[in-house]
Symmetry: C2
Subunit: 367 residues, 2 copies
């Protein structure tokens, strides 16, 4: 059984969170095409949360309370989705909503909208709140709206704790590992493969380092009691000119995921040691890890109030943008992360409602 | 100082071998575009060597004596050249002819034409002779004219000794090494590179074999007193899906050059042992080695009559097509092989004349 069509985002009632999620899914917002959804979210916020200060930077909207509390909690979610996989039309089946972005992360956006509307309706939180909606999370760094607002209007994102409503399946994901991609170039000299001693083989030159990388056993590093399982993977290799030619170039790309104990420079030094023998090594990209910060008072309160499990985040996420600015940050949002980016992406009513209830409790809103 | 333009191939005097070579260079014959040169060579043979039986198969011409000798020597050369490198116009500078194909191998073709015309003019050789001109030597196997004539009209190439007039710089190149390309596939299973234990890395799976291949020390194998220096090269490697994905496939292409002591199957077994751990191995191509056959009576006579050095051929050449049919075969022709396929390809008058004189001596023609 499925409903005919979800209500328009501007008309959807805030107290039916799954229907509100469906209305958000119904507005396509594949990365770089977020404007329509951004416009509608802005209009809904203007109409239903007009008491809050609203700023827009590109397709990023930030609403803030100004209650003069001594602490401020920042809650955010991205507007964009990965490309559709024959799942762009939302389908409500009982208490399960299927569709692109339902878990990652329009369920979270629905929670954010409802929190904004509750607060604007007079339900005062015990801390100041910043709620933000941003573009370009699923694609390259350069398009990331959070990066842009931090660069252009950092004061809009200031706070003491940040929560991103990425799908976490009921857990708190604390901190995140760093990620580093290095590209190593091994050089050789071309020659006919019948007389290889007249040249030198770049693929052979890479073999020693490759063997070392493949044999490397990564550690599990405990930080704040959480196990961060590191990894080191050769993700690309390419070499060769023609079948009768000794190759003069071999390129290897390595991805290191490192625990929040290490800086980017430390991680880089570890990998460069394993790449010994390379003629040149360049950094493709480097994103620092985010410490879990579980002993930070506000985060400790958050963990205690929610009473759910805390897990280490092994992939890199936008929480690191806050952590690198000294703001503890976690992921906590409705939906199963394993369903994100799949054709049968979906979210349950209970998942969205529990997230809303937990955040409301932490913010001190009326139950 | 350079001559204005070479004479037309049909008008060029046979007794000036360098001018005849220039006339051959002046007719472009890049592989797959040999027809015009084939037509002119055929017409010249019809006009100037009409006493010899002439057959044409595609752009391949074969002329044969029928003197009833108990032994037959087959001499041949390819008509085609590699693509031009701003060197398509022949330029005669004193006793040096510059231009595409001058060394590889229109100098040899000039020698063949002159031998055909000498014989047709009544200069009887002590053995029966087969002289052939063929297309498609510089490119893929499927276009090779020698392969085609062996397949369609093998009786036209029957003989007791074969000499190919490839540039050898005054030496006899005996036999040739075999060549074998194997493609090895290593499989894995995709996963996010932050959680590699959920998949398996195909590039890592290849590392052990790659390390073994790179560390392999090839032998120098002595056959008939000649040193065949073998080689084993990884000529291509490719793997990777995206920078955040554990790769599920890695492909390695290996080229083995093996001495005439070994069969293709033996060489294949040697390499497959080094590729242990691959999920699949396929043969890309395999060409058997040609034994030098220096103890064959007619080849021993050839070596003794010429009185020049004998070297092992490390690359694969068309001599192997004769050797695989039990006919000893060598390369012996004018020009420096290191200049073949270069922009400044050239051949000297002395080189062409010495080749002509040596072959005439062996065939028992009048000096």
């Amino acid at each position: 059984m499925s409903t005919a069509s979800p209500p328009d985002l501007l008309a959807a009632p805030a107290d039916d969170l799954l229907t509100l999620t469906a209305a958000l899914v119904a507005v396509p917002s594949v990365s770089r095409h977020e404007q329509e959804l951004a416009d509608r979210v802005e209009r809904r916020l203007s109409e239903r949360a007009s008491g809050l200060a609203l700023a827009r930077v590109g397709n990023n909207m930030i609403v803030r309370t100004e209650l003069g509390r001594d602490r401020r909690v920042v809650l955010g979610g991205h507007l964009d989705t990965v490309p559709a996989n024959a799942n762009e039309v939302p389908r409500l089946d009982g208490d399960v909503l299927h569709g692109l972005g339902s878990a990652d992360m329009k369920g979270g956006l629905a929670v954010l909208l409802r929190l904004a509307e509750d607060i604007a309706a007079g339900d005062e939180p015990r801390v100041d709140c910043t709620l933000f909606f941003y573009e370009g999370e699923e694609i390259a760094e350069e398009f990331n709206g959070l990066r842009r607002v931090f660069a252009d209007r950092p004061e809009l994102l200031a706070g003491d704790l940040a929560v991103l409503l990425e799908p976490t399946d009921g857990h708190i994901e604390a901190g995140c590992q760093g990620t580093l991609h290095l590209r190593a170039h091994f050089d050789g000299e071309r020659a006919h493969s019948a007389r290889p001693w007249q040249g030198s083989n770049a693929i052979h030159a890479a073999a020693e380092a490759l063997h070392r990388l493949a044999g490397h056993e990564s550690d599990t590093v405990i930080v704040d009691g959480l196990p961060y399982r590191e990894s080191l993977q050769v993700v690309r290799i390419e070499g060769g000119v023609a079948n009768n030619v000794v190759p003069d170039s071999c390129t290897v790309v390595v991805n290191r995921r490192f625990a929040p104990r290490y800086s980017v420079d430390e991680a880089r030094a570890q990998v460069e040691k394993l790449l010994a023998g390379a003629d040149r090594i360049e950094v493709v990209n480097a994103s620092p890890a985010a410490p879990p910060n579980l002993d930070h008072p506000l985060l400790a309160e958050f963990v205690e109030t929610l009473g759910v499990g805390v897990e280490p985040k092994l992939g890199w996420t936008d929480v690191a943008r806050f952590a690198s600015r000294g703001v503890p940050a976690v992921n906590f949002g409705p939906g199963d992360p394993d369903l994100a980016h799949t054709a049968d992406e979906r979210v349950t009513r209970a998942s969205v409602e529990q997230c809303y209830a937990a955040l409301g409790r932490f913010l001190g809103l009326a139950p």
